[in-house]
Each structure stands twice: as C-alpha cells, then as structure tokens.
Symmetry: C2
Subunit: 210 residues, 2 copies
Amino acid sequence: MDILNSLEWRYATKKFDPSKKLSNQQIETLKKAFNLTATSFGLQPIKMIVIQNKELQEKFVEHSYYQRQVADASHLLVLCIETDTPTSAIITYFDLEKEVRGVKEEVVSNFRKQLVDMYQNKSIEEKQLSATYQTYIALGNLMTVCAVEKIDACPFEGFIPEKIDELLNLKALNLKSVLMLPVGYRANDDVMSGMKKVRKPISETILEIL
Amino acid sequence: MDILNSLEWRYATKKFDPSKKLSNQQIETLKKAFNLTATSFGLQPIKMIVIQNKELQEKFVEHSYYQRQVADASHLLVLCIETDTPTSAIITYFDLEKEVRGVKEEVVSNFRKQLVDMYQNKSIEEKQLSATYQTYIALGNLMTVCAVEKIDACPFEGFIPEKIDELLNLKALNLKSVLMLPVGYRANDDVMSGMKKVRKPISETILEIL
C-alpha cells in the first residue's frame, strides 16, 4: 500500500476492540520509531511511556473526558517532556555524539558552547515549550508509522495533564505529560471507521510559488 | 524497505544537490500528505507554502542564519499558522463535514456549539499556540513521508519568522510562518549523510508499565 493510501486508511479511532492486542514486535517498532523522531538539535528532551495495564488504563478514563479509548486500546502511549533541559543534558548529548560518531573534542566544542549559552538564556517555560513542540513532532511521526504498520491510533490532547502526572507519579521523574496516543485495533462497530475524511481542498491549504 | 529502515535512512540534510529536482508527482505526494495531517478537532488552522523559485529561495538564506539548504533544496516548504481561528472557520468545518459525510444538522449541532464556545473563550495567543502545535504534527508527518518516499529533507526552526513573513507578504494572508522544510536530494559530498545517528538508548527514552 503506498503512503497516501496508508494516510487515507488512518483515522482517529473512536472505539477500540479491547480483546485485540498488538504484538511485541509492533510495540518494538513504535518504541524504535519514537526514539528515531527528529528533535531540535537532537537533544531528545522527551520521553514516551508505554502502558499495557488495564487497571491503570481504566483510571485514565475520568481524566480524559470519559473517552474510553485510553482504556480499551491495546496499549496507551503517553508522550512527555522533561521539565528542564539543563547544561548537563547538552554535555551528555555531545559526549554521546563523540562516542557514536568517533568525532574529536575540537570538532564539537564550539557548537556545544553555543548551544549551552543558548539554553542558559532560556527560561524554564521556554525550554518546556520547545520540548512540547518536539512531542508533537513525535506524535506526527508515530501516527504515520502506525498508518504504515496498520496499527489503529487516536491522538489525544483532550485530557487533564496534571491528573495524569499524578497518576503516573511523573513529578518525581521530572516529567510532564503532553499528549496521549492509544494504539491497537479498531472495533468492528466503530461508526467512525467507515466515514470519509473531512479535509479542505488542497487549493485552500497549500499555496505554490513558482 | 521497512519503516524503521526508512527512519534510519532519514537525516537532517546539511547540503542539497541544487541540480536535482523532485518530480511533480513527488511534490503532489507531499501536498496530499500535508493535507491529510491530523489536526486538533480537524480544523486545519495551518497552511503550507511550496516554493520552487531559486531567486526567492536565495533571499531566505540571510534570514535562516545563512544555512544554504533553503536555497539549494529542490523545493522549500514553509509551514504556517492562520493568525486566527474564528467562529466562521468552525462553522465552515462542520458544513464541510455535513457535505462530505452526508450527516444531518442535528448530528453536528451540539458538538459544533461546544467547539464554538471553546474557541470563543481562547485568546488569540492561545489559538495561535494551538495552531503552532499542529504545524509540528505536520512536520513529523512530512518527515516520515519523505523518508518513506526517499526524499531528503531538513527540518528548520532556525530562521527569523518575521522576516520570512515579510518576504512572502504573509500578513496580508493572515498567516505566520512557523517551520520550514527544504526538500530535495542530498549532495554527494554532504559529510552528514554517512554519519551514524546519535540517539539515547531506548531504555532512557521509554518507560514501560505492565
């Protein structure tokens, strides 16, 4: 199936089949795909929590405006930001680059200094906003990967992050939840699955300059 | 090639081959993929500008911290937000849904009212931030689609949006630039193209709860 057919096949699944589970291999694909997401300067200030625990998933429902997908999906992915991007995170990134790519200290030192200075000038709020943007890149990547892999998914902004952070004890991990993506298989009777996509004509959403 | 190999193949292209052009069919794929991007409530408060004009692309260089990719790439994609999401945009969305899906007024009226109220309670800044998030979803989607289609790309936050808005006269169109994605073919001598990816181990970026 070509990529456009995959994107057409994808839809925000309203009702999952709670009896169907994704395979370990499918979950491994999503984990690797998340980790391969491009992030600003490669710093990866984001984390993904993969939940496969019905009892816990049920507790998400009341904090998700009673949308059942969080409980009924095979797995629930929660995309989080790290609450800070300290200088040490930047140093660690360049240490990793030196190790993985075998580049020398003098190759990275100038750019590292620039980046450290740039981040030291940002407020916590600015750093969190920048990290938040990266969770949306990951969401876009994951939804497309799911479409290619024929995994049903439903992107969620509609939940109360503070409640989810409490439920998962994220404060202790210096994390904040931003987005959720229940993944699994659509229920046979999900009325949305047969619906045509609603999209503006391309002539309205795209401008071309030749 | 499977999806993970595609994501491994992808990298932030540092040097494009200015002599190589993407085909019309490739550009059509990217346009359709952009339009199929999931957006919050399906409202699509974003637009993509597709530029294939070397003279114009050269003018981007000085506003992009002198990174040549914006000029050398086959095409330059600029992802923009609409500066407002007025009630009329919400009404138009539901009119389109009724038309495309053949659903009746009484099916949509409650949810439309909820959404109109929700957006009327948002400030312009909140609406712009929400739209900005959607451009990052589109970026994540487009980068993955490019990877699958073997199109080289380089995601860009590093430019001066106000200058780009001026250059493209976006204010008159009620748009603001947020992200850029030069697309095309890597140059044979792009030193970054042979580099290993730098990524934290999955054990650090992913938590699992069973």
